[in-house]
Symmetry: C2
Subunit: 351 residues, 2 copies
Amino acid sequence: MAKVTIYDIAREAGVGIGTVSRVLNNHTSVTPETRKRVKEVARRLNYQPHTYAQRLARRQSETISAIIPFFTNYFFIEVLQGVQDRISQLGYDLVLYGVNNVDQVETHLSRALQRGKVDGILFFSMKLPEKIVARLRDAKLPMVLVDTVSPDFDSISVANVEGAYAATTHLLELGHRSVGMVNAQLVSTPALERLQGYRHALESHGITYSEGLVKTGSSNKQDGFNREAGYEAMEEFIEMGPDMPRAFFVSSDIQAMGAIAALTESGLRVPEDVAIVGFDDIELARHMRLTTMRQPMYQMGVLAIERLVARMSNPEMEILHTTFSPTLIVRESCGALRSSEGMPSVKSKQR
Amino acid sequence: MAKVTIYDIAREAGVGIGTVSRVLNNHTSVTPETRKRVKEVARRLNYQPHTYAQRLARRQSETISAIIPFFTNYFFIEVLQGVQDRISQLGYDLVLYGVNNVDQVETHLSRALQRGKVDGILFFSMKLPEKIVARLRDAKLPMVLVDTVSPDFDSISVANVEGAYAATTHLLELGHRSVGMVNAQLVSTPALERLQGYRHALESHGITYSEGLVKTGSSNKQDGFNREAGYEAMEEFIEMGPDMPRAFFVSSDIQAMGAIAALTESGLRVPEDVAIVGFDDIELARHMRLTTMRQPMYQMGVLAIERLVARMSNPEMEILHTTFSPTLIVRESCGALRSSEGMPSVKSKQR
DNA sequence: CTGAAAGCGCTAACAC
DNA sequence: GTGTTAGCGCTTTCAG
């Protein structure tokens, strides 16, 4: 590999390195003529600037890091696409710190905090370790939170209350008077907020909220946002027998998968016997024809980068919290669509 | 943020910067005493080395980049976990270039090739642009291919022939004499190899291979590895009427999803009427109870990094191609499990 | 406009 | 052992 430096160019073009630097960085005040000559030589020599020499001299890294839990799966992958697209348009590099378990959060954050390494951080879907907050603040490193919130930093998230309200309302407007909820553990903020939205929807339709109609299941992996928990919760509902609601708002699509499995195994059909609305719109949801609340993941990623860049260029900017409204995606699981085909599930046809 | 440099430390500790550098880099030949003192001061001043100054001086980036198609979704996410875990153990940074469409491949590759930027590249699941090969070779930048192959570079991939053979054999051993295949476009190497394995399996069981029993569908997005193509292919089979095979090897899980939908919509049940075996073991497969060939994705990621690091430290090393054997995961879609046992519980199906 | 020179912060070769 | 001195390759004053 040619190890061409600006000195080589300077020599060849018969100018000083300062001038070379100027034309390469599109600075003003260089004669069109010399500019042309330098550019010409640079191309001929196949010059490439050395990334780290630039970063050192410019005192900025032109890179952004993302600390992201791998286990959120589809959500993160979609958001990441938005992040990636925007970031590369802006000419930044993305260094990824994927977190497989909570212990890695601190390690990775520390690395990202290494002096000069990154110009900004995106922190995803996890609660920010308290001990880090202080370090972060006096490191003065711009950071924006995605899918999680803290008063100290900018954030991009989803309107959970509103989304749950819309989901529940949809079921109500379909004529259901008894709507249950399969929720995740209340230690999780999204779970809490979605419960709120569910409850509000009920009440503003003149229906009394009842604790007995909200179940969580015991599997607490990922705060209950998992398939088993959904399965277990629905099993409990099924045990209620005839009193069981015929419509459910489930706090995540992945739980809805479990819930539907439980239903199917008990000979209950979706949506003929039971209507389901989920939350997230993971890829699975489309295949399963699940009605659900979609989060604008790609846009969230794009905005996250834009917000971060904005803060980088103006650290004194007021802290901004943006929430996106999820959209109701009507498919078949809620029964709103009249369909002769039913749900294309392997199991639903086996019985 | 404290902008502490080794000069500050040197002054405070009453030594030269050389000495400071030595103790910080755990070099030999420093009196235990001064070593202790320097470390002490460094900690007190909360010193952090400047990443890019180090990289410039050391002439190595301690970072690896991955160029990876986002659209392979689940596969890539799993592999990435292995990559991430191993990479951070080794103390490297991962810069990610996610590709959303083919045009980005070259852009991203060029960026990764920027002088000094990375010590090595991981290139995933896509065919390497010819024009790049040359540049890559004389950039002398170590690169390993994952899930794709080229004679010029190390690679980690999956034994497609073998996997397809195993899948087909499984169906054959279940008693099926007529086994069809839903394949992807033959322009894709994996598709070609999987066809080979299918054919070999047939022939070594004394069954004549027939072209009429292999269908692809017309949707050519991602070389036919998509849901619609699977759906279309299966529709064609269904039109065969009574001559239609009752068992199918499908070249990817995502196609299998489409195929199953087509079957279900025609009133055919899986596995009672038709047996299906897929390939990949994406997350969806578990939920759909799809029998399939699992690729050891996490390990592939780990090995990819190890291979890359090996090559970085020894560029003259002979080029190595490693193929992993996929494992047959028996679930319900193939009919091997007796349905009289009832539906397995959700939990028992978890990995 | 442009050349020379002084850093950016660290590593490493070289004397003492 | 340890201080000194060159770089690493580029950006950015500062004179002219």
